[in-house]
């Protein structure tokens, strides 16, 4: 990999987010989380800890979940970024989102964007997860309100809905 040193002053970046190209001018030390929230107004992705411990900032990078607080924006050039704002198609909710509403898979809702994004990524990889797979796959997302039983139920219900839609 060719080393490409830039900075420390702001540098232009193009980020592909939810299918749309965004040009930003930011310092290389900026995290993806701070660019999403502060430069682009995409505040659905939350900052719970800023240390990769809580999962509230979970986004999907090239199909894999990532903590946006531990990811530098400059690392994301040329990669597909999906945030909570890109999960629904217009007004049509993703089955995971609909299931969270139906099963009350939240309380205060602050960790919910990260939970939803993790669940969407989990089901993309593992369309019919066992309960153990759900628990392991979602273990990186803390919910201090303790909605876990309802989240597990939501993820299962979404898997069923998606299987029906596929079939």
């Amino acid at each position: 990999m060719a080393l490409n040193f830039r900075g420390p002053d702001a540098v232009p970046l193009t980020l592909q987010i939810n299918g749309e190209a965004h040009q930003v001018l930011v310092e290389p030390r900026r995290t993806l989380l701070s660019v999403l929230r502060e430069e682009l107004g995409l505040t659905g992705t939350k900052r719970g800890c800023g240390q990769g411990q809580c999962g509230a900032c979970t986004v999907i990078l090239d199909g894999e979940t990532a903590y946006a607080c531990l990811t530098l924006a400059i690392e994301c050039e040329g990669r597909e970024i999906v945030t909570i704002e890109g999960i629904a198609q217009g007004d049509a909710l993703h089955p995971v989102q609909a299931a969270f509403i139906q099963h009350d898979g939240y309380q205060c809702g602050f960790c919910t964007p990260g939970q939803v994004v993790s669940a969407v990524a989990l089901l993309a990889h593992t369309p019919q997860p066992s309960e153990a797979e759900i628990r392991a796959g979602m273990a990186g997302n803390i919910c201090r309100c303790g909605a876990y039983p309802a989240i597990i139920r939501s993820v299962r219900a979404a898997a069923e809905t998606m299987a029906e839609q596929e079939g």
Partner: protein, 769 residues
């Protein structure tokens, strides 16, 4: 006409007599048999879409044109005197707009009477300077460039050090004991209780200091428009914040607007304005630009409060047949350098069981940490752990079933008040929980591997009756839609949804025709803070009252349209969206047909929460049954199954209520097994100020949880028949887990959390005995 009355309101274990203005439109209470269209149904939240799409706007998400970021530089020592600050280099950095500290800011009254930027820094994280800059980077760079000179002072990081003879002073010139004699409750006599006892159990306990760990850290944003201050504040009390800000800034109350639309967790730690709120408001006024100040995760652990750790001793006496003759509970806590007198740890001891001789004492000392705060059932969680563990030990000593022992000492009326309850469904909760769980447990087959299985249970009592004052305003539009304004806030419990259900029920409208506005002090009339599990029981009757008044106005219009002008409003009922003349049900009009007659006009009505019944205690009750597995080789404890049965009166929404129970159980699991704030005794610095070292439960730690509600309307409590639920489900969890561990491996966990190292030590000690 409004009148003034005295009424009793219980809040977090303390009974207050309040003088309240009573103006309640008389509303007939909903009975157990009232047919309900919206209340009692497991409905999804009205704001669900905003929550799952990321559109729900929290205080963290507030972004205003020209907004600057503020942050504190904080003390890095547990105790020091500040002698100098040089901020010149920091102030010269790009993007820095303002730096305030004790040598350049004229003294401003601190909140709670404490001077801001004082000379003495009495805990790690104490405010040293406030920097406002263009963004988090500029502010962070400046914080690192401020030079601070301090003179270290001796410190007491924990109870042992604070309570030691000749120990260091936590605050210069102040006694380390805040309540040296303690908060005492007593009835009967300890001597008599011991004399009458055939059996005495005497145990000592310690419980950990527990952190709230709100997912949204504390924070505020402030903006001035002329002399009107608008503050977005992640708070459990918009009106509490309004009054504390107006007080600290010497502003008229009507010039302060507090908004808290979505709150990312509070659990007792988010009340009024805080130092960062005050400084954000002052800096915004100084700079003429909005300022946002939110804590980062480390600060959240250092300065946003905690449940104080406790040392406790419980002594229980009983006759051979299990009648309690004595409950004695002594507790000591540290509530920080500027903390208060400590939580009501003795609350459950004085009220959970029939016992003639009860004595409880709570003594509070200072320590060089930030102040303790209310944390979900303050006092009752730690008090119940010790009390219900000791009761379990007593049951074993008496060779009685623990549930039978509890029923033997069942209190039909409030033991501390000597008054009847409005309703007590604890026995029913026991029966429901025992039936679902399978209690008494059957003996397990002998274990083959290292895992041992055990079963335990514990009870809970809490307030949650709520009371006045609480108001509501209803605006009914010509198209038959209603806006309900209430000065409470939805901290995640579903308040917005359940109040909309109550309004739709009373007005005879469909749920989607009702919009409930909470979390904004400007449009809403007064509402209480979300603490003590009082929100629903306080606000829902006010909503009913306002809706009833709107209906009276509508009925007057309908009477004219039905050519029944002047008829008694009570002669009409609302059924399935129609206003119906009771004497002749053929005479009916759809409600929307009446509102359509209004033209471009609005019916506006107001309502208020009435007083609580005289001479009756309002309480919530519950019982948890727990199954654990304990690994005798590794000491690991797995909480596998919890059956939680609760009496909270009428359940308005079983879906959101169940979520609250999940949350309480999970927090109890964390408290019992993994959570503990650790302060290094040598340096006085916190070692667990993050979410990795302070371990809260994640999904793999989650037991199977079954939730049961007695669901009998408490019609004597208030017009809705509901009581609160936020706090009850955390209360008995840790004790039930400890009792299950004893059942599994025969050792009594008296020090929480029950970590593997502690379990192994207990098992090793048991072996050698």
């Amino acid at each position: 006409m409004p009148t003034i009355r005295r009424t009793k309101v219980e809040f977090e274990g303390r009974i207050e007599e309040r003088e309240v203005i009573v103006e309640e439109e008389h509303v007939e209470g909903w009975t157990q048999d009232t047919q309900m269209r919206w209340v009692g149904r497991p409905l999804s939240r009205v704001d669900g879409v905003a929550r799952v799409t990321g559109k729900a706007g929290y205080t963290h998400d507030v972004h205003l044109p020209g907004m600057l970021i503020g942050r504190f530089l904080r003390a890095k020592q547990p105790h020091a005197r500040i002698t100098g600050i040089d901020s010149r280099r920091a102030a010269a950095l790009p993007g820095v707009h303002l730096i305030w500290h004790r040598f350049n800011l004229p003294p401003v009254a601190h909140l709670d009477g404490r001077e801001l930027f004082g000379e003495e820094l009495a805990y790690e994280g104490a405010e040293v300077a406030f920097v406002v800059g263009r963004d988090a980077r500029a502010v962070g760079d400046a914080l690192g460039a401020i030079e601070v000179e301090v003179e270290p002072l001796p410190f007491a990081p924990n109870l042992a050090a604070a309570a030691a003879e000749d120990g260091p002073a936590v605050l210069v010139g102040e006694d380390n004991w805040i309540t040296p004699d303690g908060d005492i409750y007593a009835r009967g006599s300890v001597e008599a209780g011991l004399r009458e006892a055939d059996v005495v159990v005497d145990l000592t306990f310690t419980t950990p200091t527990a952190a709230h760990c709100c997912m949204e850290t504390h924070g505020s944003a402030a903006d001035w428009e002329g002399d009107l201050l608008t503050v977005w504040h992640s708070t459990q009390s918009v009106f509490g914040t309004r009054s504390s800000l107006a007080d600290a800034l010497h502003l008229p109350m009507d010039k302060v607007r507090v908004i808290s639309n979505y709150i990312g967790g509070g659990f007792g730690s988010k009340w009024g304005a805080e130092a960062f709120t005050l400084l954000a408001a002052l800096a915004a006024r100084e700079l003429g630009r909005p300022v946002k100040a939110v804590l980062d995760r480390e600060e959240e652990h250092l300065v946003a409060g905690y449940r104080p750790g406790s040392r406790q001793r419980v002594r229980l006496g009983a006759t051979k047949d299990g009648a309690l003759t004595l409950i004695e509970q002594e507790a000591e806590v540290t509530t920080g350098a500027y903390g208060g007198g400590g939580p009501v740890i003795g609350g459950p001891a004085k009220d959970l069981y029939l016992c003639p001789n009860v004595r409880t004492v709570v003594r509070a000392a200072r320590a060089n940490t930030d102040g303790a705060r209310a944390f979900r059932a303050p006092g009752y969680v730690e008090g119940t752990f010790a009390l219900e563990s000791t009761l379990d030990a007593l049951a074993h000593k008496l060779e009685m079933d623990p549930l039978d022992l509890r029923m033997k000492n069942y209190a039909d009326e409030s033991p501390s008040r000597g008054e009847p309850y409005t309703y007590k469904g604890l026995q029913r909760a026991y029966e429901m929980g025992a039936a679902r769980f399978g209690w008494p447990p059957q003996a397990d087959a002998p274990a083959a591997g290292p895992w041992r299985r055990g079963y335990g249970m514990a009870s809970q009592i809490w307030g949650g009756g709520g009371g006045p004052p609480a108001n509501a305003i209803v605006k009914l539009s010509p198209d038959g839609t209603a806006e309900v304004l209430v000065g409470v806030q939805d901290i995640g419990t579903g308040t917005k949804t359940v109040l909309a259900q109550v309004a739709a029920e009373e007005l005879g409208l469909s749920l989607d025709a009702v919009r409930c506005v909470v979390g904004d002090s400007l449009p809403a009339p007064f509402g209480p803070g979300s603490g003590g599990s009082v929100t629903l029981a306080s606000a829902a009757p006010a909503v009913r009252s306002a809706c009833r008044e709107a209906l009276r106005q509508l009925i007057a219009l309908a009477a004219i349209m039905l050519e029944l002008e002047g008829a008694d409003p009570d002669a009409f009922a609302v059924e399935a969206g129609d206003i119906v003349y009771r004497a002749d049900p053929e005479k009916r009009l759809p409600l929307t047909q009446v509102t359509a007659k209004m033209g471009n006009y609005m019916i506006v009505s107001k309502g208020a929460r009435g007083p609580n019944p005289d001479d009756k205690a309002i309480n919530t009750f519950g019982a948890h049954f727990v199954e654990v597995a304990v690994n005798v080789e590794t000491g690991q404890v797995r909480v596998e199954r919890v059956v939680a049965a609760h009496d909270i009166g009428r359940v308005v929404n079983p879906l959101t209520a169940t979520s609250q129970v999940y949350g309480g159980v999970l927090m109890g699991v964390g408290f019992a097994t993994t959570e503990a704030r650790v302060i290094d005794p040598d340096t006085g610095l916190q070692l667990t100020a993050n979410l990795e070292d302070y371990k809260v439960p994640v999904m793999v730690d989650c037991p199977e949880i079954e939730v049961l509600f007695v669901d009998v309307a408490d019609t004597a409590a208030n017009s809705v028949g509901s009581k609160g639920l936020g706090e009850p489900p955390i209360i008995p969890t840790a004790a039930a887990i400890g009792n299950a561990i004893f059942d599994a491996v025969g050792v009594r966990v008296t020090d929480l959390p029950a970590t593997p190292d502690r379990l192994l030590a207990l098992l090793a000690k048991e072996k050698t005995q």
